[in-house]
Symmetry: C2
Subunit: 192 residues, 2 copies
């Protein structure tokens, strides 16, 4: 018998723990993305994961740590290149974020305005992305331009998935990307 998962066998102790932990993390992500940090109770996560609240506390030591574990993982790294290439890469990432709901990111985004720790994570993610972008922009305003790109993209994803602004929530991702292309390109260009 192998020590790794065998669908036909009863899961081992360690396996079962990993399963339960993953189930809790998944539901936590979902609920954090849906309702934000404050309104997501440990009891609700436990219920959704079909588990006792005490168990959540036993695995993750606090609600804070549960949130940290549920939202770890930074922004996607951009290959880099010319300003035009960077713009296309950003638009590709955006297209992906519009097409399906990036639950992990949404959990951070949903909570960043009301939970200081989430705000810190958001700033950190934005800083990383900003550095990647500004590296490719030949301008003394590069950092500011890159920061503005972050803000713009956050606004669009926010408007679609979280605030659900009317035409934006249901529009075709490709169409949105096409409309935004000139804007993003103008922000990476620097000569205006």
């Amino acid at each position: 018998m192998s020590r790794v998962s065998d669908p036909s066998a009863r899961p081992s102790r360690a396996e079962q723990r990993r399963n339960t932990e993953a189930r809790i993390l998944g539901q936590a992500r979902r609920l954090f993305a849906e309702s934000g940090y404050d309104r997501t109770t440990i009891r609700a996560v436990a219920t959704a994961a079909d588990v006792d609240p005490g168990l959540v506390m036993h695995y993750f030591r606090s609600k804070e740590e549960l949130f940290a574990r549920a939202t770890e993982g930074g922004p996607p790294s951009l290959p880099g290149g010319t300003p035009e290439q960077i713009a296309e890469q950003l638009l590709d990432v955006l297209r992906g974020s519009l097409a399906d709901e990036p639950v992990e990111s949404l959990a951070v985004l949903r909570s960043m305005l009301t939970h200081p720790e989430a705000a810190h994570e958001a700033r950190e993610a934005s800083r990383i992305q900003r550095d990647q972008i500004s590296e490719a922009i030949p301008d003394d305003q590069a950092d500011l331009r890159a920061g503005l790109i972050s803000a713009v993209l956050i606004g669009v994803v926010l408007g679609r998935h979280l605030i659900k602004l009317d035409p934006l929530a249901d529009a075709d991702p490709d169409q949105i990307v096409e409309i935004l292309r000139p804007s993003i390109r103008s922000l990476t260009k620097a000569d205006d």
Copy 2:
């Protein structure tokens, strides 16, 4: 003796009530903008306004109504005109929102991701602005373009005042507006 406020006299009953109510509303706005709906307690508002929590409940009948009263007032109405003029009007509004903190708006923005009622207000404000903008854009995608402008502007104000993204939080408003001008213009143009 006049019935309206006389600085040298002890305020009348009605005056005193208006004063207290205004003081509560001001502190409520400030705290809602600072901490969002959930984390702003009626007790905290009362303490900040130097008043008993019960009084807040007596004037405004619930926390919900207090929030509604503290955040009433929609987006600024745009004069309208050509797409280029609309773009400039939007940039002017943005400049103002960047220069000083628009406490009322920030109260809504801060809470819109975690408080359904605030989300509704934000959608409503965005819808009004969207209609004003799309009216001036000659395109079948006008609504979507206008919605995207809303999202972009929300993202920028959010990034500056609430998330405090690094270069964005302290940058010169005029500089930000200059950088964003091509983007906003491209979004109002429709021919790309």
